[in-house]
């Protein structure tokens, strides 16, 4: 075929008429121009905030898209540019970023880059001791923006609007209407004066606003008072230090935080790289290592038992349906019913099962209590919590196992059984000698994928019991039914949000998956065949 002779094939490629191609070319340039101007704007901001990792990713994607659309030779890549860009941004980059995170101090208070942290700190205000305090009246526009009329203790009046300098207009100027007997304008152009009661309603909104512009910023302090605030910290880029304008203390960056000589740290901090610190903590600290080991062993056990039980159960059903002499329509409808657990969105199933197992009130529990006078501790005892999880997972996944087994059973030739029958093999022997080995050849890879999939079955573990019951005396939250991925989640998103340590644990998962894949490479031909068939 044409594959063997690229030149011949090339001449067969479709040609578009010149007129059309000029139009398309211009359209393409226009599209690129729009994309590029947007990308440049984005890159500029990333550069300013020194978000380098993302800067590089966006730069690579943008340049890639430009290249493939400008160079005719690269035209196949145009088709996949959207897909590949999304993959680079949301799969490759996050995976790489996770590895990077493991070498940083990323957590909830060290989320910002240094310039971002400086920006946040420079935004902080303080009330100087000698600051003038005003009484205020608020005006609100129909779009929801506010203006304040201020009266100082010695009777001076000001008008202030967010983002504009302080003004001192008289009645008739700047839209200010007649003043009432307290010296407050009755009307203000574009705004409606708020009564005391309305001001109370908008008080939180008002206190969050900054009126005026730097350095003269007016902030509402209470229902009756507003005052002039000043910038609390000033950054000196040459000396790389922050000056506290209120106290005169100087803060220098130490280990991701601006720190005073006496050791006081400012939040937010910023992220820095810390080398192998997270890894050495992971392997040296018994309080971290212990739970990780428990979690690791349970992850493997959970995956193995889930696959084993759900496959056995699915296979039994598939066998009995396959060999069954029941009429076809019965088999079909039985199969439809048996697929139900697989189809119901799993989050609903897990939550429903959780309700039914609930101690003292769930149906299953009331049943066991009635029969055995024993309430099974489905959520508080490690063993029973694990049993519950496997029970639910079997319920969730045997339909899939049944489905694939039924498909595979159909491909086993009938005459093998006939020969076996002639040789006097019992059906038990036939199962172990013929059915199972042949079945495993075709279903085996799917079982391996299913095993690897269980590794990441976060939803089941978390919705069942958040990974609990908790393991006592751990630094990071960990439970007896936590698998690695839910352990990562709990470490990162509960408590103090230790992103970098959680990323370190993620790398452990990466390693396991890599070993797994390498074993597949070595002992199976899956990947080889895949590569050949591309």
């Amino acid at each position: 075929m044409s594959r063997e002779n690229p030149n011949v094939k090339g001449s067969q490629e479709p040609l578009t008429s010149p007129g059309l191609s000029v139009g398309i070319y211009l359209l393409r340039l226009l599209g690129l121009a729009i994309l590029d101007s947007f990308a440049l704007w984005f890159l500029y901001h990333l550069y300013q905030d020194q978000v380098w990792f993302m800067f590089v990713v966006i730069l690579v994607i943008t340049m890639g898209i430009n290249l493939v659309f400008l160079i005719e030779r690269l035209h196949p890549f145009r088709w996949m540019s959207a897909g590949l860009s999304l993959m680079i941004l949301l799969v490759i980059y996050p995976l790489g970023f996770t590895i990077y995170n493991a070498f940083t101090n990323y957590n909830q208070t060290h989320l910002l880059s240094k310039p971002q942290a400086v920006g946040a700190l420079e935004n902080e205000k303080y009330l100087p001791g000698d600051a003038p305090v005003y009484s205020w009246t608020a005006f609100r526009s129909t779009e929801g923006s506010f203006a304040l009329w201020l009266i100082s203790p010695d009777g001076e009046t000001f008008l202030t609007i967010p983002g504009e300098p302080l003004q001192q207009p008289r009645s008739g100027e700047a839209g200010v209407g007649m003043l009432d007997d307290k010296g407050i304008p009755t009307t203000l152009n574009g705004y409606i004066r708020l009564s005391r009661a309305d001001s109370v309603k908008y008080l939180t909104e008002l206190t969050n606003l900054q009126f005026g512009i730097e350095p003269e910023v007016i902030v509402v302090m209470s229902i009756s008072k507003a005052a002039r605030y000043e910038q609390k910290y000033t950054y000196n880029p040459e000396l790389d230090q922050l000056l506290d304008n209120e106290t005169g203390v100087i803060y220098r960056p130490v280990d991701g935080n601006f720190t005073s000589p006496s050791g006081e740290q400012l939040t937010p901090g910023f992220h820095i790289t810390v080398g192998w610190r997270n890894f050495s903590k992971l392997f040296r600290s018994p309080a971290l290592r212990g739970p990780l080991l428990i979690v690791f062993v349970w992850t493997l056990t959970f995956s193995l038992l889930s696959v084993l039980f759900s496959f056995s159960f699915g296979l039994i059903l598939a066998l009995s349906l396959h060999r069954s002499l029941l009429p076809n329509w019965t088999k079909k409808s039985i199969r439809s019913v048996l697929l139900l657990p697989f189809i119901i969105p799993f989050f609903l199933s897990v939550l429903i099962w959780r309700g039914m197992l609930n101690p003292n009130i769930g149906i299953v529990d009331r049943f066991t209590e009635y029969l055995f006078h024993w309430s099974i501790p489905w959520f508080t005892d490690p063993f029973w919590a694990k049993t519950g999880i496997i029970l639910i997972n079997v319920w969730l996944s045997y339909p899939y196992m049944m489905m694939i087994s039924m498909g595979a059973l159909q491909s086993i030739p009938e005459d093998l059984y006939e020969v076996a029958e002639l040789d006097g093999a019992t059906s038990w022997q036939q199962f172990w000698g013929i059915t199972l080995p042949l079945l495993l050849i075709s279903v085996g890879p799917l079982l391996v994928f299913s095993f690897a999939g269980s590794f990441n079955n976060f939803g089941l573990i978390y919705l069942y019991n958040y990974g609990g019951p908790p393991i006592p005396n751990t630094i990071t939250p960990a439970g007896y039914t936590d698998i690695l991925i839910s352990y990562v989640y709990n470490t990162a998103f509960t408590g103090n949000g230790n992103y970098s340590y959680a990323s370190t644990v993620t790398i452990v998962i990466f390693l396991i998956l890599t070993i797994f894949t390498l074993l597949q490479f070595k002992y199976t031909r899956i990947w080889e065949e895949v590569y050949k068939n591309v």
Partner: protein, 297 residues
């Protein structure tokens, strides 16, 4: 005894075997169906029982009414209908975009020969070993970071969530779809080229109509997958009115089993309905797509 006796004996043993077979397979099937269906009657009875309390639930409700559904729809602190709508919206938008974007990529992999093709295709699959949910922390930080500049794609937005789903769905689906593009003979393209068709026209007018079934399967599977996702939605979404059904329902029932059981059951039935309808109306298509897809990796 006549000659025909052993034959008769044999046929009677066959009928006995037949009966035994039907009996055993019916028993196994009944057992399996009992296990599969076990939760359903309880959920339906709980949904229709105005009592709304788990600990007092009886198999047959004393009174049947739609109280649970009504309170589920009218409780402003738990905007159930909003969640359902959000889930349907996010899942369909993601499914449509996934089908569109991945079919473009698959077309290129199937129809063009270019250097690096095989390596690229192989890496697409290799990356699937590490699903992007493993990088949940990085995804969280990335989406937060993007949201600082493009608010529509940040944390707690549906745009950001859809973006993450799209990224995760690319590799496997391009791979899967390419396999089906390959089944369309290249001669069709070539004859269209002779008629002056461009690649784009071949893609739109010849290939897409021919593989519409598999596009549907991939669309539906993506829809079901996104509809059922808990982790990413949980990490990215926070406001009550932006939640998906998965996160919302978990919040609804969490620690409240005894007092909202009926409402939860009502919500679970309605929430499962779209998927049940989609699945059973396209069952054949999906089951074949699923087993084939699984075999293909």
């Amino acid at each position: 005894m006549s000659k025909s006796d052993p034959k008769q004996k044999r046929s009677s043993s066959i009928t006995r075997q037949k009966r035994l077979n039907v009996l055993v397979s019916s028993l196994v099937a009944l057992l399996g169906m009992g296990f599969a269906l076990f939760p359903f009657p309880w959920i339906i009875s709980a949904a229709l029982d105005p009592l709304n309390v788990l600990s007092m639930q009886t198999f047959l409700p004393k009174r049947i009414a739609l109280d649970n559904f009504i309170s589920l729809f009218t409780d402003p602190t738990r905007p159930y209908l909003q969640w359902l709508f959000n889930s349907l919206k996010i899942s369909s938008v993601t499914a449509i975009l996934v089908v569109f974007i991945t079919s473009l990529g698959a077309y290129a992999f199937s129809r063009f020969r270019f250097p690096g093709r095989r390596g690229l295709m192989f890496s697409l699959l290799l990356v699937q070993v590490y699903p992007n949910i493993l990088a949940m922390i990085a995804l969280f930080i990335i989406v937060w970071q993007i949201g600082r500049y493009i608010p529509g794609l940040g944390l707690d937005t549906h745009g950001g969530l859809i973006m993450v789903y799209l990224g995760g769905a690319m590799g496997g689906n391009i791979w899967l779809m390419k396999g089906f593009f390959d089944t369309v003979p290249k001669e069709l393209d070539e004859s269209a080229w002779i008629d002056g068709a461009s690649h784009w026209q071949v893609y739109i007018h010849i290939i897409l109509p021919l593989i519409r079934p598999i596009l549907t399967v991939i669309g539906i599977l993506t829809f079901i997958g996104v509809y059922g996702d808990y982790l990413i939605a949980r990490i990215l979404l926070t406001s009550a009115d932006k939640l998906t059904l998965a996160v919302g329902m978990q919040g609804l029932i969490n620690l409240n089993y005894n007092v909202v059981w009926g409402q939860f059951s009502a919500g679970a039935i309605l929430g499962a309905l779209p998927i049940l309808i989609i699945f059973y109306s396209t069952q054949k298509l999906i089951v074949s797509g699923l087993t084939q897809g699984a075999v293909k990796g």
